[in-house]
């Protein structure tokens, strides 16, 4: 009698858009059976700003600062993809010094972004102390950019044909100092997180993304490499000075949250190596090619792609020979990762949702554009 009167039902829980762990304004419609996730549906668009359309109404140089704000955690890679497309259209040859400086900017941004990943990922798992440690190190990178271009977050380091300006004298010693410091700090994180039994229990085997699924969903970056697929735009189609520096493409075969975390930890170490090489070999010369005040690329289309901290960031620009693009299309890696998220979430518990969501490291600014 009692049994017939007891019934259970599934609960639909709206996680977000105001929620501490959705990393911005993402809404996840979760169907829960108790604590277990039966289904998940990401609802996006809360941060849509129409960046692509804005591109059509601005001149080529004017649009550059807008790209900073797409993936606000790594302004340089957005700049990189955009200027790469425009430079391809115009056939501009960038001076060597500018190429190296760009690589420094890109890799500093990668470290900064990965540090934010470590911070928020740890925070989602309630290791709040790691959060503040990682933010502390990121501050040093912000200081480097402030010294160089004046801005800290949305730096607009790039210009069509080169970089904004040459680095000040004290930049290189500071950058060397940072390169020496960071590996030590990473070891500190390793001691706090990587070997921690609780951290491993929360991440190992959680949120499996098989390589073929990752590939089918067009995942890229650490999310793809955490599934053991060795694909990196820096290696596959080297841009700037990436063909002249020595670095490894970090992969991990685990396909789980821990794998994706370890890939990012490894990538930070590689980035430090790249920066150290660029700082040592930085050529002398101009930092900006002669482009002219009015940028008018010939009619045509071009696609610029860079390896952003989140994956392949692409920018497709169509020109009709005028002063502003006819069409700008942005390929944001987080968008594709978010599409694969329901696959990873099903069958896991409420507590894992934040871990898995954190492990793909989305930035809503670039998802919604």
């Amino acid at each position: 009698m009692l049994q017939s009167s007891v019934r259970t039902e599934q609960v639909t829980l709206n996680m977000g858009p105001q929620h501490p762990s959705t990393h911005g304004v993402l809404r996840l419609e979760l169907v829960l059976d108790g604590e277990v996730v039966v289904d998940a549906r990401p609802v996006i668009g809360y941060l849509h700003r129409g960046v692509e359309k804005i591109g059509e109404a601005r001149t080529y140089p004017q649009f550059l600062p807008y790209t900073d704000r797409i993936d606000y955690l790594s302004a340089a890679s957005n700049n990189g993809a955009y200027v790469q497309a425009v430079e391809k259209l115009m056939g501009v040859e960038v001076p060597d010094r500018a190429k190296y400086l760009r690589v420094i900017a890109l890799e500093l941004n990668r470290i900064a972004s990965h540090l934010v990943f470590i911070a928020t990922f740890a925070n989602d798992l309630a290791a709040t102390t790691v959060f503040l440690y990682a933010i502390r190190e990121r501050e040093l990178i912000m200081d480097l950019f402030e010294m160089w271009v004046g801005a800290r977050l949305t730096q607009s380091t790039f210009r069509i044909g080169g970089v904004t300006e040459d680095i000040p004298e004290e930049f290189l010693p500071k950058a060397r100092e940072f390169c020496a410091l960071l590996p030590k700090r990473l070891e500190e994180y390793d001691r706090l997180l990587t070997g921690n039994r609780i951290f491993e229990a929360r991440t190992r085997g959680v949120g499996i993304l098989p390589p073929e699924v990752a590939w089918d969903y067009a995942c890229s970056g650490p999310t793809l490499r955490g599934s053991g697929v060795s694909f990196d735009v820096r290696r596959a189609e080297p841009y700037e000075a990436y063909d002249q520096v020595d670095f490894e493409v970090v992969t991990h075969p685990a396909c789980d949250c821990l794998g994706r975390y370890l890939v990012r930890m490894g990538e930070m170490r590689e980035s430090v190596r790249i920066i150290a090489q660029c700082v040592d070999r930085l050529p002398q010369g101009e930092v900006r090619a002669k482009v002219g005040r009015v940028v008018k690329p010939p009619a045509g289309e071009a696609y610029g792609r860079v390896e952003s901290p989140r994956g392949e960031f692409g920018c497709y620009v169509v020109s009709d020979g005028g002063t502003s693009p006819v069409r700008v299309r942005l390929r944001a890696p987080s968008f594709f990762h978010l599409a694969a998220l329901p696959q990873m979430l099903r069958g896991w518990k409420m507590g894992d949702v934040v871990a898995i969501l954190g492990s793909i490291d989305i930035v809503l600014g670039e998802v919604d554009r």
Partner: protein, 343 residues
């Protein structure tokens, strides 16, 4: 406090012709006020301490404006802010349940302080069944938690309450069994006797096999007070705040107070049961008691700011597969040690 002072107050009042029952009522009232004031002050200190400790560990500064360089009055200011906040009962909430829940959590958190031996003389009431009283009363807040979660009519709150009940019930068992070890070793449920046994024969934590019981007690106690790695019921990054997500103002403050009061209590009781309560050379007993209690609290805070959070199923399997067997083993070992006179 129950020694000379009580008799003096009693004699003073009856000397003026006050009936005995009124005199004892006045005494009880005084004691109640003393406990409440003490708990409130302790919570103020604990919140400040937690902020400062976490700030130190995270290379921050922590509160440093309100009340001098060390931000001593910051907590006071926050408490005042909470008092002045709008008291909100969400639409769709079960009003009576919603309003009653914080008190059901808060009152037991105060009651348990009746049997805390702050020094050889300062103890509100040394009940014959002191330990049993603690076990019974501290099982009570679970009802308040599920009332809060259910009454709020909020899915996050219900999830938080479900977790809270599952977790607190599970960890109650090893906690109680760890206390049973001490009771067996001391041969009494009376807190005064337990302390006396330690004053005479050395702290229980130094005597084999009670170290195991101490370990079980500390782990279970951390789960009881909802601290990382066991803070699932209120997991901020998952459930926003858990069962008290809909509470604001003073009602929220009651949950908050209860939590910190409980933190102090489990540490104080760890001191009482295992660390020799107020026993110690040189300093006054009450100083020893508070010093030991704060040492335990600092260890709990230290752990809380270092490790990540476990998942609900991991927490449950940890309790049932590891902690409960370990506590049973501790009881068996203690029993054997007592029977063979080796304790």
């Amino acid at each position: 406090m129950n020694g000379g002072a009580s008799e003096r107050v009693f004699a003073f009042l009856t000397g003026y012709g006050v009936p005995e029952w009124i005199a004892s009522a006045v005494w009880m009232l005084l004691m109640a006020i003393a406990v409440i004031v003490f708990v409130l002050l302790t919570v103020l200190i604990l919140v400040w301490l937690e902020r400062k400790i976490s700030a130190d560990m995270q290379s921050r500064v922590g509160p440093n404006r309100t009340g001098g360089r060390f931000g001593l009055l910051q907590t006071m200011a926050d408490a005042l802010k909470l008092l002045m906040k709008e008291d909100l009962v969400p639409r769709g909430a079960d009003r009576a349940v919603f309003i009653l829940a914080p008190f059901l959590v808060f009152v037991p958190a105060l009651l348990v302080f009746l049997v805390v031996p702050f020094s050889d003389k300062w103890m509100v009431k040394d009940l014959n069944l002191g330990v049993l009283f603690v076990i019974a009363v501290s099982a009570f807040p679970v009802i308040g938690l599920i009332m809060a979660g259910w009454g709020s009519n909020n899915k996050y709150a219900v999830l938080g309450a479900m977790r809270a009940v599952a977790q607190l019930m599970s960890y109650e068992i090893p906690l109680v069994l760890a206390m049973v070890c001490v009771v067996v070793a001391a041969g009494s449920l009376k807190v005064g006797d337990i302390v006396a046994a330690q004053v005479d024969g050395g702290w229980f934590v130094t005597r084999f096999p009670l170290q195991l019981a101490f370990l079980v007690y500390m782990i279970a106690a951390m789960a009881e007070v909802n601290r990382v790695p066991f803070d699932l019921p209120e997991a901020e990054s998952e459930l926003v705040a858990g069962y008290f997500v809909e509470y604001s103002g003073m009602r929220f403050a009651l949950f908050f107070l209860a939590e910190f009061a409980h933190l102090f209590f489990v540490s104080a009781f760890a001191t009482t049961l295992f660390l020799g309560a107020w026993a110690g050379p040189g300093l006054p007993p009450v100083v020893w008691f508070l010093a030991k209690t704060y040492a335990v609290i600092i260890v709990i805070m230290w752990i809380r700011w270092t490790v990540p959070r476990l998942r609900i199923d991991q927490i449950m399997s940890f309790a049932w597969k590891l902690l409960v067997p370990a506590s049973l083993l501790a009881v068996a070992l203690t029993g054997a040690a007592v029977v063979y006179g080796k304790l």
